[in-house]
Assembly symmetry: C2
Homo-oligomer: 203 residues x 2
Amino acid sequence: MAEQKATNVTWHEHRVGNEERNQLNGHKGAVIWFTGLSACGKSTVANTVDHLLHQKGVHTYVLDGDNVRMGLNKNLGFSAEDRAENIRRIGEVASLFNNASILTLTAFISPYKEDRDNVRKLLGDGEFIEVYVNASLETCEARDPKGLYKKARAGEIKGFTGIDDPYEAPEKAELVLDADNKSIDDLAEEVVAYLEAKGYLKS
Amino acid sequence: MAEQKATNVTWHEHRVGNEERNQLNGHKGAVIWFTGLSACGKSTVANTVDHLLHQKGVHTYVLDGDNVRMGLNKNLGFSAEDRAENIRRIGEVASLFNNASILTLTAFISPYKEDRDNVRKLLGDGEFIEVYVNASLETCEARDPKGLYKKARAGEIKGFTGIDDPYEAPEKAELVLDADNKSIDDLAEEVVAYLEAKGYLKS
């Protein structure tokens, strides 16, 4: 965990609280955290869920790996330390969006269990929904839409998850999606069905 | 500006775009960036504006200095470099909230012109509204609710804005608030009136 550097800071209670924002949006916030290997379909499933939820009038937002790495986390690389800081920052931003009563979808490889668990701890009970997009390395490597696995196998990219850097699969994910055998649309529907069943889509 | 470290990243177009989110919220996003000395009233004015906008059904969120420093930016101190990185990250987060069609209020001392201008550049035309909460050092030092000026004068806090670190006042702020002579409520009403006049509160 990052050390608290700044001293002389105090927590300000906001005048408009969480309850008021929930009322305006008609639902609470939550963080739907998609994790899985590169090319497993995380981002595509997340964006499809986003589309389905938006059609239902749910207030959503997608944070995804490549986009955040071009902005907030552009000063981070892929060392273990930078990966941890990457996920830490994303967790904090997701927590702010959650606090703003947004159903926040995040799509990051987030390979290390400890980093994901730290985000879980940051959020309240039921506010962190870990969705493991489970596709085998074979499936992901066969897809390889950006040719990254090929580069990693050739040694042109070092520390690539699944090749020469570990992926620690979730042990207690709220949802495990079978991305080897099911279509993107079916997986997205599974996520929406889960959110509906658990009462996330109404206040 | 931070260097782009990660390579092999590409920008993903989101399936739900800005327009769709604007339609759901009934207004566009924008970043209302409050800047000024410690104890000038930034956070209080921002939270009062937030309250007034929320009452009008506007989707808002407040990012403020102390709170962000306990989360996203807990690993940053108050050196010039850390202050720049603090504001850079906040700018990126505000830009994400703006992209989610939230009227985002930020309350940070943000003493350096270059850092604020970098946030302005990050956002589109009309999406960055710089609000200078102009209170004299004398006023702020007389208030000193947390005793920080006293500590800075005693040399217990180093690099304190206005004492031994510069505050670079905005030259072209969209709004300048006279915090020496007007009440918090009057200042907040001025901001709301500006947003209404400029069409920020409707789609």
